[in-house]
């Protein structure tokens, strides 16, 4: 009986030869990653000192802090939070990365997504490091355990294997594929398990696309997602990895709690209608729905292939008068590439409002909607109040569909614009 990639990573990180779902382990995270946010990092720093009398962490290179929310700061309190993070990092020799982009993406760029590594964060979207064969789990307030102790207690999750097969139609993006998985498996389809993805569609998919899908794993109920490394992802990570680790792969006879094969050949662009990430629908049934705001960005989408798709739709066309199109590349590295490819020029020429990388549009800190307004968005989530008034609404679509809606002022099929 073989093991899954998840079981192999947890076995190594807990010093065991073999682990099985349900085993209670003490696991040593290879990296402990977080961004500064009120109620999380500030509380953890305080608890370490006041509850445990700790002045620092044992091995600072295992830790990474990102400043990506509330960037740039708009209140002195926000800047205080950031300054506290910088001070703590400096005092404890823990690297603090800021103004490099959204941490979940930058973590990959900086080599924290080492294949075979085990990573924890408080935020579940860290699951996207699974693109590189890294097991990355969001543990919410349990993260303090990884700051106080070298090991954390963790029960080995079971794995659901999903193989994506067939051929994606033009204009259907990774974003559509993910929300289709939610439609097929259900919002609890992978509950409390690891979502392991594979199949010919994943094999042929770009790193960007894989990051989009693994980023959103939580909406299937999963604790994280993971993809067995291949030439593409090993190529990306080999020069970036921060620690020397042997990558691992699931055995052919690994045991899965469930296996699903999903043929995506007939898949068309989708829309996730408010107010739940569980509400995947066919985009064609919502065409013509008036929207006033478009957001292209986030840790899920906003990468170069998203920007290319949007630029292709908008090149030589114009954002409709009065429509607010916000384009926020996920990282500085991506923004630089977009500039070099001329995509920023295309988007700005069409009337897009392009901002530097930040998490802030996605969670309603800036660019907010008033009551009654509607947005198309590639943000992570469409719950009420996520991007402003609790009486505004968010329709999640792929990047090309955000651009198409910006032209028409209504939900639109992006495919005619891509021909």
């Amino acid at each position: 009986m073989g093991s899954t990639i998840t079981e192999k990573i947890l076995a190594r990180a807990s010093g065991q030869a073999l682990v099985r779902p349900g085993d209670n382990l003490r696991v040593r995270p290879d990296f402990v990653v977080s961004y500064d946010f009120p109620g999380y990092t500030d509380v953890i720093f305080k608890q370490m000192k006041e509850e445990f009398g700790m002045s620092g962490v044992r091995d600072p290179s295992r830790y990474a802090l990102f400043i990506d929310h509330m960037v740039p700061a708009i209140t002195p309190q926000e800047e205080d939070l950031h300054q506290n993070t910088r001070d703590w990092g400096r005092l404890n020799q823990v690297p603090v990365y800021e103004r490099k982009g959204i941490g979940h993406q930058v973590a990959s760029e900086l080599g924290y997504a080492t294949p075979g590594a085990f990573v924890v964060h408080f935020d579940g979207h860290i699951s996207q490091l699974g693109t590189f064969g890294t097991l990355a789990i969001g543990v919410r307030r349990h993260l303090v355990e990884a700051f106080v102790n070298e090991n954390i207690r963790l029960a080995v999750p079971a794995t659901t294997r999903v193989d994506l097969v067939g051929q994606l139609q033009p204009g259907v993006m990774a974003r559509d594929v993910f929300h289709h998985i939610v439609r097929v498996l259900g919002a609890a389809g992978c509950r409390a398990q690891v979502l392991e993805l594979g199949g010919s569609v994943i094999d042929q998919m770009s790193i960007d696309g894989r990051q989009t899908i693994t980023c959103l794993a939580m909406f299937t109920g999963a604790v994280t997602a993971i993809i067995n490394p291949d030439e593409l992802t090993l190529g990306y990570s080999s020069s970036r990895s921060r620690i020397a680790l042997d990558p691992v792969w699931s055995d052919a006879d690994a045991v899965y709690a469930q296996r699903h094969v999903i043929d995506v050949s007939a898949l068309e662009p989708v829309v996730v209608v408010p107010p739940s990430p569980a509400h995947t629908r066919d985009l064609k049934d919502y065409i013509g729905t008036e929207v006033q705001v478009g957001y292209l960005g986030s840790c899920a989408s906003g990468r170069i292939e998203d920007l290319r798709a949007a630029a292709q739709v908008l090149r030589g066309r114009s954002v409709r008068e009065g429509f607010q199109l916000h384009v926020v590349p996920t990282s500085q590295e991506i923004m630089r590439q977009a500039a070099a490819e001329g995509l920023i020029t295309d988007l700005v020429a069409a009337g897009a409002f392009v901002s530097s990388p930040s998490c802030d549009y996605c969670f309603g800190r800036i660019g907010v909607m008033s009551a009654g307004q509607k947005a198309v968005s590639t943000g992570t989530l469409n719950v009420s109040g996520r991007m402003g008034s609790t009486d505004s609404q968010i329709y999640i679509v792929n990047a090309a569909a955000v651009a198409a809606a910006a032209i028409e002022g209504a939900i639109a099929d992006p495919r005619p614009y891509l021909r």
Partner: protein, 174 residues
């Protein structure tokens, strides 16, 4: 460490699958911090008289994948202020589960619970026997075993108590 005693009436049943706990207080109240203020706005949509009916020690019952979405902490802070001392659901969304267990809130996943209870029945989580007892009906239903760390955290009243209780052991082990 001892598990907390959980025995009380079913103050409310959230039957809906994938229930988003933010709805308990309404998303517009999600930034409130004061437990009393949270208690004052809780359950207005579901049962406007809830605060009058609930008593200290009562429990809640939830459906499948309880806590789905993007759960925040304030809703359950408000409910605990009103006296809620435990929650039993068909199953839980893992993010919600972790968040509340870290607060030391007693919860168990008990498949079949929705059909085994009515509102105001008296339930007890029997930690020893691994079941939920319905004292009003004289029935019981097994709950899914908790992981080692979840048990320790609930027994210790939250993650800080848990870390203090286990730290000497962990230092020794590392």
């Amino acid at each position: 460490m001892q598990m907390p005693q959980v025995r009380g009436r079913v103050a409310y049943i959230f039957e809906e699958a994938d229930f988003d706990v933010d709805q308990i207080i309404g998303v517009k109240n999600i930034k409130l911090k004061d437990p009393a203020e949270l208690a004052a706005v809780a359950m207005k949509e579901q049962d406007p008289d809830f605060a009058k009916k609930v008593q200290v020690g009562d429990v809640l019952v939830g459906g499948v994948n309880f806590g789905y979405g993007h759960p925040h902490y304030p809703p359950l802070i408000g409910m605990r202020h009103l006296g809620i001392r435990g929650l039993i659901a068909e199953s839980f969304s893992p993010g919600y589960w972790r968040g509340e267990v870290a607060q030391g809130f007693p919860q168990v996943a008990c498949p079949g619970i929705l059909k085994a209870i009515s509102r105001w029945d008296e339930l007890e989580i029997d930690w020893q026997a691994g079941c939920v007892r319905n004292h009003s009906r004289g029935t019981s239903l097994p709950f899914e075993p908790l992981s080692e760390s979840d048990s320790l955290m609930i027994a210790a009243g939250g993650i800080i108590g848990y870390l203090k209780a286990t730290q000497s052991e962990d230092k020794h082990g590392s």
